[in-house]
């Protein structure tokens, strides 16, 4: 159990060092995913299986997918295929794969030697976490929901303003006609029921 913890910790440190020294964003993202997975294994060996699950699902799943999506959107260009071809060299994915192979070996070891978890470490059950989360920390849950709602509205606002600017820039030459037609459509739509009545 101690060996599993130390190997996962060393893997996390190595992967994080590779994250902050890479020059290519995609290489750094691959190492960052490996780092998060190894930290999840550290959480599991520390007796926090629920947090390990959350780390894999939310950090390595959702947040990293956001990063990969944005990196993919930023590289839209004519030379995208060429850069993709240069990224697919074996030197790119061998490092993360070797580090992830350590983690797979450790997970297999834990799977076949299950039952030894939590006897020596301070195991905190998910039930205790839930009781604490929705008991004394209930106001924190409400604040987190407000924060997430604010982030949702903020991200929508930041990405919606771009489209309005694009429409304005597109319609500079034919701005008058487009605005008039839009207004007419709105007015006819609004006045439809009254006219029918």
């Amino acid at each position: 159990m101690d060996a599993v913890f130390y190997i996962a910790a060393v893997t996390a440190i190595l992967a994080t060092l590779m994250v902050i020294t890479r020059l290519n964003a995609v290489h750094a993202l691959l190492y960052l995913i490996v780092s998060l997975l190894s930290v999840a294994l550290v959480f599991y060996t520390l007796g926090a299986p629920f947090i390990a699950t959350l780390e894999v699902i939310i950090y390595a799943g959702a947040i990293m997918v956001l990063f990969v999506f944005v990196v993919m959107m930023l590289n839209l260009g004519a030379k995208t295929a060429e850069t993709e071809r240069t990224w697919l060299k074996p030197g790119m994915w061998t490092g993360p794969c070797v580090l992830a192979a350590f983690l797979i070996v450790e997970v297999a070891y834990l799977l076949f030697h299950a039952g030894s978890l939590g006897q020596e470490a301070g195991l905190v059950e998910p039930k205790q976490v839930a009781i604490a989360l929705f008991g004394p920390y209930l106001i924190g849950v409400e604040l987190a929901s407000m924060l997430l709602l604010g982030a949702l509205v903020g991200a929508y606002h930041l990405s919606a303003r771009k489209q309005q600017q694009l429409e304005i820039q597109d319609g500079v030459d034919s701005n008058g006609t487009r605005a008039v037609t839009g207004r007419d459509l709105t007015r006819s739509g609004a006045g439809g029921p009254s006219r029918a009545a």
Binding site: V19, L46, A62, I63, V70, V124, L148
Partner: protein, 77 residues
């Protein structure tokens, strides 16, 4: 010093993860669920931060076609 904005966001993720690791280790040391509760809050904060941060990054990239943080030093206008 590196000024690429996407690396800045990734480093913020690493630092938030380190803070959460410290919380979970402390909660495991004194067998209390408070550390894991704090990690859940850090997770929500990181999700909110990265969504707004990536939206801002896309805006800055579409504005001046660069991910350099120094390119956004003149923001008036």
């Amino acid at each position: 010093m590196r000024r690429n904005l996407i690396f800045t966001l990734m480093s913020i993720e690493v630092m938030l993860n380190a803070a959460g690791l410290a919380f979970v280790v402390a909660g495991s040391r004194w067998v209390q669920p408070d550390g894991q509760v704090m990690f859940i809050f850090i997770l929500a904060t990181a999700a909110a931060e990265v969504s707004v941060g990536l939206a801002l990054l896309l805006q800055l990239y579409h504005r001046d076609k660069s991910l350099d943080a120094d390119a956004a030093s003149r923001m008036r206008g």
